[in-house]
């Protein structure tokens, strides 16, 4: 069934983007925009892959991938929060740094084979005709990423920690006055974001493709940042946006396989066009739901 194929593909292909976009969401809620997510994802993809090669344990790989992504975003947070650098420029620089560093160190891993994550069908649920294939026949990291969404929502909107994070992004003076250092909160948020992006990269290399090739994320990190805006900084919508992106990628393949005469060059654009269109549609609502401190970044203040 075409619909089943597209939806299954949406989850398979969209999970890595989703993890990165949830991570970016935390970071932006605290008031820091991190365009270097692509670098964090690649670092996670390589780090996770490398450790899985060395230890044979994909869970250790996942942890390491997350840490590698975290380290990359540590550079970003240091430059932006402690040195006062422009957030957008720093993020882009980090992205290119991540691409270069991983290309260099990843050379010896290109032909390695790993015991990665394989799809684990959930016993009874995966037999349900339509939903079973779409939702319950994925690798462990995909399942975890789906569970992450309600957890993140709960933390952000129903706990004190969430209030603190959001305060850092909305009214940092008030947060400071209440005795908590907003810079510290932002550091933690960016690091958490980098960790999740790293796990997203690991999902791509250790779970989905079982390979490492330089620049294998092919822009997913950047799309993740765009999707956060599309999602109006809400975890559930970020998930929807990511799966929409994945679905567009799957759609491109399905169209080709059906033999429909749509130019593949046009089809390659579709996932990105969709993201762009989604952003434009949401544009009007966006300004009011953007964390205030993030608004400062976009009005060309120096941020921090």
């Amino acid at each position: 069934m075409i619909i089943t194929d597209i939806l299954t593909g949406a989850l398979r292909s969209g999970t890595s983007v989703m993890l990165a976009s949830q991570g970016e969401l935390i970071s932006e809620r605290a008031g820091v925009i991190n365009l270097g997510m692509e670098g964090s994802m690649l670092a996670g993809a390589l780090g996770g892959f490398a450790v899985t090669v060395w230890t044979g344990n994909p869970w250790l790989g996942t942890l390491s991938g997350g840490l590698c992504g975290l380290i990359i975003s540590l550079i970003h947070s240091f430059l932006v929060l402690s040195c006062g650098a422009n957030q957008l420029a720093t993020g882009l620089t980090i992205m290119f740094f991540g691409i270069g560093v991983t290309s260099f160190f990843g050379r010896s891993f290109v032909s390695e084979q790993i015991v990665g994550f394989n799809p684990v069908p959930i016993p009874i649920l995966s037999d349900i005709p339509f939903i079973g294939d779409v939702l319950f026949n994925h690798d462990p990291l995909t399942y975890l990423s789906i569970l992450l969404v309600p957890v993140l929502w709960y933390v952000l909107f129903r706990t004190r920690l969430g209030v603190i994070i959001r305060a850092a992004g909305e009214k940092e003076d008030v947060l400071f006055a209440s005795g908590i250092n907003p810079l510290l909160v932002r550091y933690c948020a960016v690091l958490a974001g980098g960790f999740l992006a790293g796990v997203g990269g690991t999902q791509l290399s250790v779970a989905y493709t079982h390979s490492w090739v330089e620049n294998m994320t092919a822009g997913r990190g950047v799309v993740a940042v765009a999707l956060v805006i599309f999602a109006s900084w809400r975890p559930a919508m970020a998930m929807v946006g990511s799966y929409l992106f994945g679905a567009a990628q799957a759609l491109q393949l399905t169209v080709q396989q059906q033999g429909w005469p749509i130019s593949t060059f046009f089809l390659f654009m579709v996932p990105y066009l969709l993201t762009l269109a989604a952003l434009l549609i949401v544009e009007r609502r966006k300004r009011s739901s953007m964390p205030e401190a993030l608004g400062n970044v976009f009005s060309a203040d120096a941020g921090g």
Binding site: D5, T8, G9, R12, S13, S16, R107, V110, S111, Q113, N118, L204, S205, Y208, T209, H210, S211, W212, V213, M216, T217, A218, R220, Q249, A250, L253, T254, Q256, Q257, Q258, G259, W260, P261, I262, S263, T264, F265, F268
Partner: protein, 387 residues
């Protein structure tokens, strides 16, 4: 004189400029004196390609991609072994831009009189460098344009691909084959068509679903494509990509069979490997290098467009996988013999395109040039050529 300016003084600027010009001038004269020495030290007019101390190879990717570049790398290793007096210079990850010119120039500076640009897109850079160094021989892989000192070589890989199609047609239970490719260049269309012709020669209802990924090596896209094809009922997957690992491993994990390309990757698919089409560059590279070193490039078979065939051993079939039955192996062998003695040609007319129009008339055998400029899909291929 005692100005405490924050900006550069005029004198400083001139000094820096002078230093830069001197350094640049020195390195250039160094280079030209090297060339000057080599051409004056040989008494007679030396044939192109001779007198060098090195052979250069440039690759567009990494040598362990289980694919295109790995095959070329193996060829370079054979040259290294066969010519212990020649230093083998290699450069991987050379992009198909003017950067390639810089790399080739550097190799020539280090004494190379023979260069192997191994990627299709290295042709223009090679032609440019060749024009500046008429005493250096260039062997370009797959190109369609030659010059006085640039010869191109390739293999009629569609022959083993046709045979692989025969095997795939026999082994497929669903009759649906899949082909994952990057961009619609003639080489790619030719392979897909040869594969389909082979499969349909044993199963007239077989179809080949083609998926374009737009990239020569994007694992995410490759995994998407492989999964998508298998979801759609395809049970044999082949590909025309630079790196083959992701597709083969994905197919193996999901229980689909694999037909390999470029290199023998059967270790990645112990259960599902059917057969693969590979290049035998080692013997060819050694022969080409010998021809150049002996000063016999001009007028040789390599001066121009050289196409090694199945009969020449330049393109080959790998061994069969362990799950391929004897009768299928025998059928492929039989068909191979017919290819070799000319009773069968993968594209002997009548050949129809997807719309049902006859492209090659009954009894017509297309030339190699015609095949290498193929721009259509044969009947049985599902997929559109992007315009």
């Amino acid at each position: 004189m005692k100005k405490r300016n924050t900006g550069w003084s005029w004198k400083t600027l001139v000094a820096i400029l002078a230093i830069i010009v001197t350094i640049t001038g020195c390195s250039q004269s160094g280079g030209s004196s090297l060339n000057g020495n080599s051409s004056s030290s040989s008494g007679e007019s030396s044939a192109i390609g001779t007198g060098g101390s090195a052979v250069g190879f440039i690759f567009v990717g990494t040598k362990d991609d289980y694919g295109y570049n790995q095959a070329a790398y193996l060829g370079s290793e054979a040259v290294e072994e066969a010519f212990p007096d020649l230093k083998v210079l290699r450069s991987e990850n050379v992009p198909e831009t003017a950067e390639a010119e810089r790399v080739m120039e550097e190799m020539i500076n280090q004494g190379a009189k023979i260069i192997f640009p191994t990627s299709y897109g290295h042709l223009d850079p090679a032609l440019n460098v060749a024009a500046r160094h008429p005493d250096v021989v260039f062997f370009h892989q797959g190109g369609l344009i030659t010059s006085d000192n640039v010869g191109t070589y390739f293999g009629t890989i569609w022959e083993p691909v046709y045979l692989a199609g025969v095997a795939a047609g026999k082994m497929s239970k669903t009759g649906k084959l899949g082909y994952i490719v990057s961009v619609p260049i003639p080489q790619v269309l030719l392979n897909v068509n040869a594969f389909t012709q082979g499969a349909r020669s044993v199963n007239p209802d077989a179809t080949t679903t083609v998926v374009f990924t737009g990239s020569w090596c994007d694992p995410g896209q490759q995994a998407n494509a492989a999964n998508s094809l298998i979801d759609g009922g395809v049970d044999v997957i082949s590909q025309h990509q630079d790196c083959t690992k992701t597709i083969i491993e994905t197919a193996e994990r999901r229980g689909a069979m694999t037909v390999g390309y470029h290199a023998d990757a059967s270790s990645l698919a112990p259960e599902g490997w059917i057969v693969g089409s590979v290049w035998n560059w080692p013997d060819l590279f050694v022969d080409m290098t010998k021809t150049a070193v002996d000063g016999e490039f001009k007028g040789s078979i390599y001066d121009g467009k050289y196409r090694g065939t199945l009969a020449d051993g330049v393109v080959q079939l790998t061994d069969f996988g362990k799950n391929v039955p004897e009768e299928v192996q025998a059928l492929v062998e039989e068909t191979k013999q017919k290819l070799l003695d000319g009773t069968v040609h993968p594209f002997a007319g009548p050949v129809k395109d997807q719309a049902g129009n006859i492209v090659y008339e009954d009894g017509y055998i297309p030339t190699i040039d015609e095949l290498e400029s193929m721009d259509f899909f044969v009947e049985g291929v599902i997929g559109t050529i992007p315009q």
